[in-house]
């Protein structure tokens, strides 16, 4: 029950990040203190990644933040059952929230097109994933005292 409530809170934070809004570090305090010691790896991953994304956003120059938003659009559009309008246009992503992205299953070129960038440029996604992975590992160790279990799966 508590894990569901915590997940809802995390999702509300994700929605704000997807919209490009800022989240103060202090707003996360409740999430950490209530995260159970026996929380699942998925819960831990969700929490740590959320912290890492919020932290990463603060490090980025305002003119570069579109890259993070594009990555979030991309990852969260892969959720839910595929359900996109017959006449889907990337411009409709402006102002999109978490529920708007679910089920769209966007390709990276579609996301880049929606941001008005070169559709075939994968470098922003690669760079963000690399930087975030390093942050996730750092915070995972700081919080749980060991390497994230997904490390082996995400290495390539």
């Amino acid at each position: 029950m508590i894990s569901s409530i915590l997940r809802d809170e995390r999702l509300a934070f994700w929605d704000r990040l997807i919209r490009g809004e800022r989240i103060e570090q202090a707003e996360f305090d409740g999430l950490i203190s209530r995260l159970a010691h026996d929380a699942s790896d998925d819960e831990r991953a969700g929490t740590v990644l959320l912290f890492a994304v919020a932290q990463y956003r603060e490090k980025m120059r305002p003119s570069s933040r579109w890259r993070l938003q594009a990555a979030l659009w991309y990852w969260f559009s892969q959720t839910g059952t595929l359900d996109r309008p017959a006449r889907f246009t990337p411009s409709r992503l402006r102002g999109a929230g978490l529920a708007d992205l679910a089920g769209l299953h966007l390709t990276w070129p579609e996301v880049m097109k929606a941001q008005g960038k070169n559709p075939n440029d994968y470098s922003p996604l690669k760079r963000i994933e690399k930087d975030l992975m390093a942050l996730v590992e750092e915070q995972w160790i700081a919080l749980f005292g060991k390497q994230p279990p997904s490390r082996q799966q995400t290495s390539s």
Partner: protein, 244 residues
């Protein structure tokens, strides 16, 4: 060929999927709240809470998609219904209608024809009534009458020419799209007519361009014909400046 797409085993996509995995809720947002959310009329905190619910409640996500689709359909329909013809297109249509050939009995009742016929009748009347007797008088009186006749004819000719300015297209084609776009013809302000005002002076004073007077008259054609004096105190509609 795409360089790379995630197959679903990626940490980020996998985490996003785990975070949004469907779950059971005992309570669901009301239809009104979803409508307010779609309209952007909801506080940001509540907006994000609702999105969290919608992303993990399959039933509500379907409702959300339906509401979105419905609103978009309505927005398109509303757009189509609310497209009113612009003043410029109305004028073009009117101009086209007026330039069509009319049956002779209807053409007789056109203002231009009336003035033409009246001027011809006046010439005949003046000729019969004053011209012939004048010939019987002194040569001086004859000369005076001829001068008077010439003057009358000139006035009538001017009237004929002037009355045709609106419908014969002599002025309207000078009004360009660029000129029209300077003003919002659907958003008008009121101008109260003062002594000595003419359509030209009002267009010059209010729009900064005398040549726009036919459009100002057209907007207020209920006031009277283009050649009539505008009653003092009449409230006229004037297009507002686009930059206002």
């Amino acid at each position: 060929m795409l360089e790379r797409e995630h197959a679903g085993d990626d940490f980020f996509v996998r985490t996003a999927r785990a975070e949004t995995a469907p779950r059971h809720y005992d309570a669901h947002p009301a239809e009104q709240e979803l409508l307010a959310l779609a309209g952007g009329d909801i506080p940001n905190d509540r907006r994000s809470e609702l999105h969290a619910h919608l992303a993990t409640c399959e039933e509500c996500h379907m409702r959300w998609k339906r509401i979105h689709a419905y609103l978009q359909k309505e927005a398109v329909a509303l757009d189509q219904r609310s497209v009113a013809p612009s003043l410029a297109s109305t004028i073009r249509k009117r101009s086209a209608l007026e330039s069509r050939e009319l049956p002779w009995w209807r053409a007789l009742w056109q203002p231009r024809a009336i003035v033409t016929v009246a001027s011809a009748a006046a010439v005949v009347a003046l000729t019969l009534g004053f011209g012939i007797p004048a010939l019987q008088n002194s040569s001086q009186r004859t000369a005076e009458h001829i001068a008077a006749l010439s003057s009358e004819i000139q006035i009538l000719r001017n009237q004929v020419q002037w009355s045709g300015m609106i419908s014969n297209g002599a002025i309207v084609p000078r009004i360009t799209e660029e000129l029209l776009n300077r003003y919002d013809w659907d958003d008008s302000i009121t101008y109260r007519v003062e002594p000595g005002d003419t359509w030209q002076s009002i267009a010059e004073a209010e729009l900064g361009d005398e040549s726009l007077w036919p459009l100002v008259w057209f907007m207020n054609r209920d006031v009277g014909a283009a050649g009539d004096e505008i009653p003092v105190g009449t409230d006229l509609l004037i297009p507002s400046d686009v930059q206002d």
